[in-house]
């Protein structure tokens, strides 16, 4: 069994997040605004090497670009 999202280089979690976003966006105006707040993610992260903190980057963008790279590799 092959998964379409695996072929696109997307992890299962990302696939779930996208599916959830689609459901939220198709809601009616009132519940949608409330539901969309649950889907917000505004984290930053940094990689560490040998006890030194690297650059602070936005987590969402980094995840997206890493997955795009994986898709290219496959």
């Amino acid at each position: 069994m092959a998964f379409a999202w695996k072929a696109a280089g997307i992890t299962y979690n990302r696939y779930l997040a996208i599916a959830a976003r689609v459901v939220r966006r198709s809601l009616k105006e009132g519940p949608r605004l409330q539901a969309e707040r649950r889907g917000e993610m505004d984290l930053r992260f940094a990689k560490w090497q040998n006890g030194k903190q690297g650059e602070n980057k936005s987590l969402g963008e980094a995840n997206a670009s890493a997955m795009a790279e994986q898709a290219k590799a496959e």
Binding site: T11, D42, L59
Partner: protein, 301 residues
């Protein structure tokens, strides 16, 4: 926020109290100065009390929301882990272990962040080869001083609101993207026991190998390809649980800390008011004595 400004003010207030009580027999002229000084301190402590009271109220309202999120996410996480319990999955020891520490960005909430850091350090003395992924600035600052070599990832921007599942998913994805293969992932979080007690507890999230090697694995029918998805998903589930429970603990701890701070400020205010009144009375008495002595002296002439 204002933590750095408040703490010295509190300690200075204490020092002023001690200072102004001791030299009772000091020169009369000094009394005017201390009177003004005490008044100033009294005012600043009153302001501090106002602020801590407001913060307490804010924390209590946030706490009810956080606790609801916690109970929901706890049942969610426990149900998600039921599979591994019935499969009797055990962590693999031969491979590296990643520890995820769920703290947050904000302070002023008692010792819950340092409790996590202490638990981490204790585990690191037993297993010095563990890698660390730290969520939240507070534990990052504490652990980067002692165990900077072990840190591979750090996340910031947590703790503004109740953590969402999207947060947990993004963190789980970034952990999955790490180059190293981990035998198991331990998620360290503050377990909410009651409003006063929290305990740093680990939840395990397993690697694919650990799942396939679990004792009761044959009872389940799983395709090999699905297993990776299960691993990613269960990591996100456990992270969500840990984040939500940690958030509830933080709010509850902040409420308690602010409650204590307001109580202490109230104590100081009452002590300072008494001191202020006494000093004022002493000044008035001194003045009266001066006037009367002056009057009697001039009357005798």
């Amino acid at each position: 926020m204002f933590s750095r400004a408040v703490r010295p003010a509190l300690s200075v207030g204490n020092a002023a109290l001690a200072r102004s009580v001791v030299p009772k027999s000091a020169a009369q002229a000094a009394n005017y100065a201390t009177l003004r000084e005490i008044e100033g301190r009294l005012k600043s402590i009153k302001n501090i009390e106002k602020i801590t009271k407001t913060m307490k109220i804010v924390a209590s309202t946030k706490l009810t929301r956080a606790q609801r999120a916690m109970t929901e996410s706890r049942t969610y996480g426990q149900t998600a882990n039921e599979v591994f319990e019935s499969a009797e999955t055990k962590a693999l020891d031969e491979k590296k272990t990643l520890m995820v520490i769920c703290s947050s960005d904000k302070g002023l909430c008692g010792g819950i962040h340092s409790g996590l850091s202490r638990a981490t350090r204790r585990m690191l003395t037993e297993h010095p080869d563990y890698d660390l992924a730290i969520i939240g600035e507070k534990c990052k600052a504490q652990l980067s001083r002692s165990n900077a070599k072990n840190i591979v990832l750090s996340f910031a921007g947590v703790g503004k609101d109740v953590p969402t599942f999207a947060d947990a998913q993004a963190i789980a994805d970034q952990i999955c993207l790490l180059p190293e293969e981990y035998g198991s992932v331990k998620i360290l979080y503050n377990k909410f026991i009651n409003a006063q007690t929290y305990e740093a507890t680990p939840i395990e999230a397993f690697s694919e190998e650990a799942i396939t090697q679990s004792a009761n694995f044959s009872a389940f029918e799983i395709d090999d390809e699905v297993l990776g998805n299960l691993r990613e998903y269960s990591l996100a589930n456990s992270l969500f649980w840990a984040l939500a429970e940690g958030h509830a603990c933080e709010q509850s701890a902040r409420r308690n800390a602010m409650d204590n701070a307001s109580k202490n400020a109230g104590d100081m205010i009452s002590r300072f008011t008494i001191l202020f009144n006494r000093t004022r009375q002493a000044v008035i008495t001194g003045e009266l004595v001066e006037i009367i002595t002056g009057a009697t002296a001039s009357a005798e002439q």
